[in-house]
């Protein structure tokens, strides 16, 4: 058994990217940000960041503009739901080409 000397006896994950695998592949819908509606983008001010606050997978950055890490975003849509200006919309993944897969 290859993992016999692993430091844990059980299933034990620590916080950080990727301990559950690259979960971006689970996504059915992709969050797409419209910068003309996004409060921090429009005002060029550190403000709002409701998407960053509510993202359960911590894949949205607290930056201008907020960046979404599509490698781990599962596409739950909570950011789109919480955005007060409806700047994030969920778009069907099938509409994106292979090259677009991990691009914002």
């Amino acid at each position: 058994m290859g993992t016999r000397n692993y430091r844990r006896k059980t299933s034990h994950s620590e916080h950080g990217p990727g301990d559950g695998g690259r979960t971006g592949s689970w996504r059915v819908e992709r969050p797409v940000l419209n910068k003309s509606l996004c409060i921090p983008c429009k005002r060029n001010t550190e403000a709002c960041f409701m998407c960053w606050l509510f993202c359960p997978d911590v894949v949205i950055s607290r930056t201008i503009p907020p960046k979404i890490d599509l490698e781990y975003c599962k596409g739950c849509g909570i950011c789109a739901e919480e955005c007060p200006t409806k700047a994030i919309t969920m778009v069907d993944e099938a509409g994106f080409s292979e090259e677009d897969k991990d691009k914002e």
């Binding site: 290859g2 844990r8 994950s13």
Partner: protein
């Protein structure tokens, strides 16, 4: 010190001597006097433990699982239908490798409805991954609880200490209560490899895929099969460790091992995994 008491009190005294930190239990005949006794010890300040009354046996073991994950020495006790009601959590405690000790005061499982003795309740839990110890008198009950904590914490496998309802739980017999200093010398404080804490947060026993995975440090971590296989291997190792527990316990009591009931005890030790009966392969 030799006293004359019933089997449930023998178990309660063992738990008290082991300084259990968290006790969660739901009363069921014939286990009730055991948990009542423990609640009296806590109420009187004789035990510095958290006694958590719960609404069911399922919750009782869930509380012990959480407490043990946070590094507390945990205890629960039940009988018959109560044990079956906590069955889901019984599996969880073993898979999570938590050294919980649980007294099972053996009682028949209906039908016909019956509160008297039968061992089918704990026997039906044989394949859950717990070690089971069966006691034949009050001395073995108190000694087994103490040895069980040492063994469970050594091998990270939970243990059921089983004894017959009424026949042992409610009858009176003289037995020796080991001195606290001797038990403290035998059983060090519970120090798990990892205990839940806010400095070093972790997600325990979440969805685990069949295959190995790379953890955030880039090390190859177990998949589901590796975790189960490790439990199986260490269950087998536990037999040797149990013999060591018997020897150490005889030493602290200052008795030759044949006077501590170890021989009958070892023969009563059932390792509760059916797969143990199969030969161990050359590797997974």
């Amino acid at each position: 010190m030799h006293i004359i008491e019933n089997g449930n009190v023998a178990a309660a005294l063992g738990v008290k001597l082991c300084h259990a930190n968290v006790i969660a239990a739901y009363p069921i005949t014939p286990q009730t006097p055991l948990t009542e006794k423990l609640s009296e010890y806590v109420e009187a300040g004789e035990m510095k433990a958290e006694y958590i009354p719960v609404e069911s046996e399922h919750s009782a073991l869930a509380v012990c699982i959480a407490a043990s994950s946070a590094g507390a020495r945990s205890f629960t006790a039940t009988s018959a239908n109560g044990l079956l009601y906590m069955h889901e959590q019984v599996h969880w405690a073993a898979g999570a490798r938590l050294p919980i000790v649980m007294c099972v005061v053996n009682r028949a499982v209906g039908a016909p409805w019956n509160v008297w003795n039968d061992q089918q309740d704990s026997i039906s839990q044989r394949d859950t991954g717990w070690i089971q110890m069966y006691c034949c008198d009050h001395q073995q009950i108190i000694d087994s609880v103490i040895k069980a904590y040492w063994l469970a914490e050594k091998v990270s496998i939970p243990i059921m200490v089983c004894y017959d309802g009424y026949i042992l739980s409610h009858t009176y017999m003289p037995f020796d209560v080991p001195d606290q200093e001797k038990v403290d010398a035998f059983l060090p404080p519970f120090r798990p490899d990892y205990a839940l804490n806010t400095e070093e947060p972790a997600n325990l026993n979440t969805v685990t895929l069949p295959d190995v995975r790379m953890d955030i440090k880039g090390e190859i971590a177990h998949g589901y099969m590796e975790i189960r296989y490790l439990l199986h291997e260490e269950m087998r190792t536990a037999l040797t460790v149990a013999a060591e527990a018997e020897k150490r316990f005889a030493d602290i009591k200052g008795l030759p091992i044949y006077l501590t009931g170890a021989a009958t005890h070892m023969s009563n030790l059932i390792f509760a995994m059916m797969r143990n009966m199969l030969p161990l392969g050359s590797g997974h």
